[in-house]
Symmetry: D2
Subunit: 342 residues, 4 copies
Amino acid sequence: MVVNVGVVGTGMIGTEHIESLANHVGGARIAAVFDVDGDRAAEVAASVGADTAATASDVIRSEDVDAVLIATPGFTHAELVLECLDVGVPTMCEKPLATSAADCVKILEAEVAVGRKLIQVGFMRRFDVGYQQVKEAIASGAIGETVMGHMFHRNPEVPPEFGDEMVMNDAFIHEMDVTRWLFDDEVAAVRVLAGRSTPKAHEGLHDPQILVFELASGVLVLAEAFVANGFGYDVRCEVLGSDGTVELSTPRLSARTTVNARSERIPDGWKERFGDTYRRELKAWIDAVAAGTHVGPDAWDGYAATVIADAGVEAQRRMGERVTVELIDRPDLYRRAKGTSP
Amino acid sequence: MVVNVGVVGTGMIGTEHIESLANHVGGARIAAVFDVDGDRAAEVAASVGADTAATASDVIRSEDVDAVLIATPGFTHAELVLECLDVGVPTMCEKPLATSAADCVKILEAEVAVGRKLIQVGFMRRFDVGYQQVKEAIASGAIGETVMGHMFHRNPEVPPEFGDEMVMNDAFIHEMDVTRWLFDDEVAAVRVLAGRSTPKAHEGLHDPQILVFELASGVLVLAEAFVANGFGYDVRCEVLGSDGTVELSTPRLSARTTVNARSERIPDGWKERFGDTYRRELKAWIDAVAAGTHVGPDAWDGYAATVIADAGVEAQRRMGERVTVELIDRPDLYRRAKGTSP
Amino acid sequence: MVVNVGVVGTGMIGTEHIESLANHVGGARIAAVFDVDGDRAAEVAASVGADTAATASDVIRSEDVDAVLIATPGFTHAELVLECLDVGVPTMCEKPLATSAADCVKILEAEVAVGRKLIQVGFMRRFDVGYQQVKEAIASGAIGETVMGHMFHRNPEVPPEFGDEMVMNDAFIHEMDVTRWLFDDEVAAVRVLAGRSTPKAHEGLHDPQILVFELASGVLVLAEAFVANGFGYDVRCEVLGSDGTVELSTPRLSARTTVNARSERIPDGWKERFGDTYRRELKAWIDAVAAGTHVGPDAWDGYAATVIADAGVEAQRRMGERVTVELIDRPDLYRRAKGTSP
Amino acid sequence: MVVNVGVVGTGMIGTEHIESLANHVGGARIAAVFDVDGDRAAEVAASVGADTAATASDVIRSEDVDAVLIATPGFTHAELVLECLDVGVPTMCEKPLATSAADCVKILEAEVAVGRKLIQVGFMRRFDVGYQQVKEAIASGAIGETVMGHMFHRNPEVPPEFGDEMVMNDAFIHEMDVTRWLFDDEVAAVRVLAGRSTPKAHEGLHDPQILVFELASGVLVLAEAFVANGFGYDVRCEVLGSDGTVELSTPRLSARTTVNARSERIPDGWKERFGDTYRRELKAWIDAVAAGTHVGPDAWDGYAATVIADAGVEAQRRMGERVTVELIDRPDLYRRAKGTSP
């Protein structure tokens, strides 16, 4: 069976997903493409032999579309996701699920009304082989009871408009989801710590900065974001347990030795580090759509991330203070068994 | 454009390739499948919605087939490849290209008569990201002039029938191709050294054993095969240059620390280590077929490997002695520019 | 020239130092030994052919003693150090210099009155080859301007009496000194964060816990202590700069590969990790005494650590709150040039 | 007890040993020093407050000397060692024990006549912490039955006079002793393999080159020497067993991350890599002298190394051929229990 995918949004990530679905993921076909920039949409659609649609709704409501991928700017997500739920079409929505907690709740309610999970949120790290090894080590009991975590999100440079809110909504948001997933727990409070910034940081950007998660179980997780580090893209984490630790390492495939130094490569960007991970995410989505099941981060995960990010932005304003994270009760639809699944 | 692939042979590797082409490689469709075990062929074909063919020729000569993948036992390759050349269909042939140098020469002659390269031989390591980093380090001049190489081919266990010839034809053969490719050179002579074997080795198997390559340039490359090592699948190499070295490392994605030890995983088999590499090889092949070009190891590379393997088996019989490798003149069709391409 | 050393205190660390001075450090001789446990003192003295003294003063004031090593319980340090300054004898004082800031100030005043530095405080990490490589990387400018630090102090188990105050005074105190030394800066404020503890922690012990240093320059340093981790002794740090990072790694000398894992050793305790470092510290002290100079952590460093530790204990009581660190003006005697010296 | 050491030879290594004994090893005193260059001897002796002697015999036969350290050029060793045995004084002799097998045999006979082991040969690697970890892994049975070894001896540059014989006698000789010790076995035959040399090698130097050891048990050990590698001093080895492997790694204490690379240091010479190891060797010697016992490589080990080196030089001349190593029967004095002792 081939899954016919309709794509809304042909910016950087949308185009990347289209290329991946067309060239690196079996079982998928790009059926329809829409972007507010029609020329851009036409160009991308042509590259994979797909048609363009006149509106996002045309994509979502097309009879030729089995599944929708939303890759538009975040502020448009809520309305598009709600329309997908209205139609009942399986949907992959890039992060964030919505830019406000209230909109996320509307989505939760709509999906609960549908009665089954249609929405997958684009937290692709859950599909990363390395993160899955970390999850497996925790779930297997190899490190005992989890007691603390350290997360490191390092990026070589950011554009001038990249301020503290973007650190929270575009960088730390991945740490929020990964933390919730690895520890199988909710975030109860956050705190931001920052001090001297690198001279490479733009005005108004605290870089590096620390986001402290306090989980419902009491476990502390410290996440560092250093987005203008000048040296490379390096995402790592370490989870401490009562019997040992497990860490996500910088991937290593080869090493060079030259004068007085043996060196391993640091990726230069997210494509090098997570390119395959995005493909694995899309493949898992396509397989789930084909099987009529759901996999990976769901709308609840998207909602939780949005609420934590809101608290995180508040915590950036009240530097050093503890800010609580308040979630609604989790609907039964979103309860799931512990384990290693993404 | 979708490339319709006909597959001849549905043993372990053929089935694996069919699964990869159907599920992990965009742009390909399994069009026809044949195996001497018709039930097996039918089962595999059904799993991907393909048809079965009554004979291998029916696959090769089918109008619905754009490209052929040969994954039958090695002794059948020559005849099948020659038929593919006769038809003029692009073909991926699993190693070996043929089991005798004479048959390989017939293939070279037939392909030269066609006038363009249609055959890709299944030395998949050239498509491995790690090996490509090694190749890039050498080609960039980062380690200076190459002067020596060490290769390590380690495998946890082998079946009882796995004797010295299989070490040469199934294990060392990859080192032959990788050595020729990394050093951009031909093998002029080989020598085998072996001593005490592991008690886990079957009667008649020298394990570990060393195959020494002497390249045309004089460079020595020492390859170790240790196929019943009892601990894991670990393929590594190190290339020494006049300004430094570059090594293929055991891939590392994560690490665990427990009592008094921090440990990194060793893969348990070739699927864990090279699963993605096979997918990359197939994707490159499909893309080249779609573009009407050729990529990766060609018939000459297949011929050279067979000649070296023959010399290697002779060297196993004359343990410790130098055995020369005699190649025919390389036809112009198989000359290519130095660089980093697979 | 041989330096005749008088030792006050023959507990674990005192005995260790005596053994090191006698057997692993050239140029030193144990001249006199005192401990309140006379039998213990006699036994240790006999093992190295030294005499015992009737009182600590007898050691400090002996004409046969060129230098004094104080290794008694911390609460006795102030009085002993002041007597050494009164006599004018070069002195190595194990941490802490004194258990109250007020006593430390008395020592500073007495030493300033002497007019030259006689006191070396036992923060031995400054003499560790690994830490010196970190210091060198920072001082050389290789990582640019320092912007953040992460410290990890991990220990396999602690006795039942080891509570939060001991975490501060015996574990974190090393991180205080190392942070001040590596960043060449003073600590302006501290904050403690703690959450769920390991089930291996005794009642009343927060383990792991985080001590956040805010340096005068604004740089944040996050130090983790995990003293009942159950797996090993592992001290590491990472310093982030505007052009790169430098880290103290777990030392690695060898590695083992067994089923599906390649493992490097984690030390089982401080002797394995820092045994040689203590010897280097003592050797540097003996050389400085012989040369009439001073090396390493001085009384000001001891004072600063005590003030920070006091603030740290306060911060443990006011979990999550920022507690300022107030230092007196630094006397001229304790100003020194930036660089890599211990 | 203080061991009074007489030193014969104040070249580079002799001076280094004198400095170590005086400054880094407790329990030793330099009592007398001789060198054919009297000025040099006087200078070195003065630096440690020792006397000079008029002849080597004066040192060896001095009543004030408890132990002799021989660090003269190799061709003088036999006569000096025989005189030490004649006097009955414990002696540390730098490698080689003697430059001919015949002279080594004379020494063995003289020592057997004495009836106890007085001679320690300067194969210091047995005292290296890393090598001891490797030995311990083997002796503990952690890797099962040993089946193969790889040794790597890499050095950044050599003077113009450093030819193939020096590769054998000054570089590979350490691999000979380490191989015999780690595998607890004798070398039965050797073979040398060499191909293209680095352009940095002087005329007449094969660099890199491979020395293959065939042990009495049949185990093969392949040793690489690459002495003008241009990048650093890197000594490693890997021992393969039936249940796993153990390797001596390049020591790592710290690591730096800069643009797209995380790098660990490669030592720049033997002093950085083995400085502490030499001190541990000397300390073990002094302790054994003080205790009236023997430790480490003995005259038999020195004899075996000389015989293997002679065979190695022959194997360099008969490149590629197997050259047998013929040892006399081992006298009972030199039999010892298996284990981990140096």
